[in-house]
Assembly symmetry: C3
Homo-oligomer: 350 residues x 3
């Protein structure tokens, strides 16, 4: 699709300077852009490229001064980076809205219900009594189990598998390869050392405006629901065990793992590769550093923790500093031992 | 499907109290159950819900006393929780047995052999000379490589990929997205700094009654077999490298990783995100705490370890306690240094 | 396929001893091999099996002495293990070259371009304007997004998903379930505590001779490219975040994670489960131990680090040793405190 500088300026409330019928058909970085591309300049470090770039249209800050004449059309806005991001978002939405229809071959059970403007990619599988909302986009090879509900405007990327009975909210995005609703890891030890499976008959509920990365796993509850609340953002390769709750607007970075039945509050930030044991509570606003291992409930909101086992951030950093100097500390103790020994030998007997 | 209280009581050897023709068609938690649902009460904390729940049938302990009359039919059993779990298990088995037949489109090589009562979901791919046992259920989008054998009664969930020559036992369950038999990570360094692939021509053998979670990876052996022995239970997102052996009834929690050629004994318990280096042995009954890093063989059975590098559990906990108090210990040393300095200055010259 | 001892000897420049028309049709370990299998002996520990194995042909070192007559045909080479590996590699290449053609059903957009001798497995999806090079093998269920390029001789295993605009080089291997080009994890916090997605419009570039394991995730750049350079070898379940660069011939073991915008140099070795924070540089030849947490740039080439937070390998090992003896050190301090107290009480007042 082609857009003119004037059309773009309208979308982002900017003012065109130069040729307002200059056209662009794609995006580029200012240092690499070709003719007919749109670029932006936000970071002053890149200012020199303004005079050498081949981009046809450039979004700049209102305050940007020019040292030389420029051939590209400029669009001036209060904040060039955020205007550029807004533009991209709108562009991607437009492209995605154009994706509609049912590609063949796909497998749609006759009891499944599909909303309007739905896209079903080839090799998608939609099981009995599934309910797919309006404007939902199912990319190729997605698997939707029995009775699953996917809310309006949600986007399910290639090869996502959603087991039976799970419920996905509106405006949710789930990236490729993620598995929603696999069995929780529950096995009862038997007297002979073997294990007997504890049936996992709950489900997973993913609320509105959640985004989940690639190849993550969110297990179904033993009974009841594993819940990811509205606005939570989950990265790649996460383990969310059975009966966990993830609070509103909580952010979890890649490769972190939450064990069974733990309840994470709202606006919590969990770093990459962090682990949290089962059956504990994490207060709202907690910040858990990457690679931390949290083994106890955190009850005070807005606490920051680090380390494994995790401890208060400030005191953990102090311990780490002393730990690094431990060989030194040991030498100080050895020196003291010598001196005290000397003093003991020299002392005047009472 | 609908069941009466009397039918359910027969399945779990219980005694009905109340209306034995009350019918249920699904399961619920006692605190949320609706009419026509079956619930159970095992935990005394939830006893009050017995008098308010809308469930039509409730499984309770034999010993349960009633403070008020109850409208639901009760089924009394020695252990309500375990009876409920048994029931669910039977229910899921019945549902799964009903899954049979070959959905279209699927791809089944003409040299592949399929047993009786098999289910092949749409978009499944079964390669040359594969052998699928009786009652096996292949969910949609499963990939079965050349010469793969899948034993009777095994269940392969959506999008599982099993590379050529791997052998899956009987009564095995493998959850969505797991990859069995990908190439082990073997590369020989060359004089110019590049790496040359070491061909991985072994396979993976998964014995009977094993369960494997979602998005896990079990790599094929360089030569010979990577083996997961009978009764082992493996969680999500695991890395099991080439030529590893996992012993009978060993349990491995999510995101743990076992490096190449390591042999894990029987009845070992490995916590989430733990890592084990290559080419070591782990004795039977070892318990490895979450996030531990095991760098040496563990030779004494039933040892418990924690930390990275992992150490004996009790002494590691003691070290951790002292570590937390390190800033304090450093202050004590500094105080001693001052006092000893003072004593040295005050000493009576000999 | 069947090969004679003479044919095999030609492929690996060896000399046959015994029946040079002995035929084999598969490979086996010397201790388990059956008749009509090819085995090798490199490790003297296994020498006894030379006299008991049922293998029809055995590759041995030139220098191998025989204590008894042997029924199998021997092939003598300077280095038996490496000759065996070479042979396997050639065998697998031959087998893979035979894979060609387009299986049905598959989905190939009419604007996609396919090279010669390509294999497209059933259930593969090739999107608009994708370009598949010569001799590329796409295993069943692979997903290739819009505008993706896959270079000559690359092998894409089952269920790999490559998002739009990503570029895969020549002679690349990507194992099952891996996701290339999922959205980077970028969300801007809003005043109300919610997060707004930062569009991720860059791509992923995987250069020539790269191998990537199973179920790994390499996210697309926010703008520009996430890059994996020529010859890098990546294991299973890796997280490579947006805008990361992985240098030439760098090796990354399973379950490691690299955060956004970090640049990894050439010939770096990263152990399993290691984590690296975002926006740092790692010098060429750095060795990062398993489970390390690297929080600062490493500027000196060929440094070895370990621990979380990671520190120089030698000093970290010294700290770890002292840490293990901490309870002991604390006792020494307590003893000193008692002695000094005693000395203070005994001192002769000035």
């Amino acid at each position: 699709m082609q857009f003119t500088a004037a059309q773009i300026a309208m979308l982002i409330n900017g003012k065109v300077e130069g040729n307002d019928s200059a056209t662009v058909d794609s995006f580029g970085k200012i240092e690499e852009a070709k003719a007919s591309q749109l670029a932006f300049l936000a970071n002053p470090k890149y200012e020199d490229f303004l005079y050498t770039t081949k981009a046809s249209v450039i979004i700049v800050n209102e305050s940007q001064e020019l040292k030389e004449p420029i051939s590209a059309a400029l669009i001036r806005v209060p904040d060039a980076y955020s205007a550029f991001a807004t533009l991209l978002h709108k562009y991607q939405e437009i492209m995605r809205q154009q994706l509609t229809g049912i590609q063949e071959p796909s497998f749609i059970d006759k009891t499944a219900v599909l909303g309007e403007h739905v896209f079903v990619g080839a090799f998608c599988y939609i099981s009995q009594h599934a309910h797919i909302g309006n404007n939902v986009k199912l990319y190729p090879g997605a698997y939707i189990g029995d009775n699953v509900k996917v809310g309006d405007n949600s986007v399910i990327l290639p090869g996502v598998k959603i087991y039976h009975d799970c419920i996905i909210g509106k405006n949710v995005t789930i990236h490729a390869g993620t598995v929603i609703g696999g069995d929780g890891f529950g096995f009862a030890p038997q007297p002979d050392g073997s294990y007997k499976k504890v049936p996992q008959i709950g489900n997973v509920v993913v609320e509105d405006f959640v985004e989940i990365g690639s190849n993550s796993c969110i297990d179904r509850a033993t009974i009841g629901s594993t819940i990811v609340k509205s606005g939570a953002k989950l990265d790649n390769l996460l383990q969310i065990a059975h009966n966990v709750e993830v609070g509103n607007n909580t952010v979890i970075a890649a490769q972190a793992g939450i064990s069974g039945s733990t309840k994470i509050g709202s606006n919590v930030q969990i770093g990459g590769q962090a682990g949290i044991v089962g059956h504990i509570q994490i207060a709202d606003g907690t910040r858990i550093n990457a690679q931390s291992g949290v083994s106890k409930s955190i009850k005070t909101p807005n606490t920051a923790v680090t380390g494994s086992p995790a401890a208060d951030y400030t005191s953990a950093l102090r311990s780490q500093a002393v730990t690094r100097n431990l060989p030194d500390l040991e030498k100080r103790v050895a020196d003291l031992e010598k001196l005290v020994q000397q003093l003991l030998q020299e002392r005047v007997p009472l």
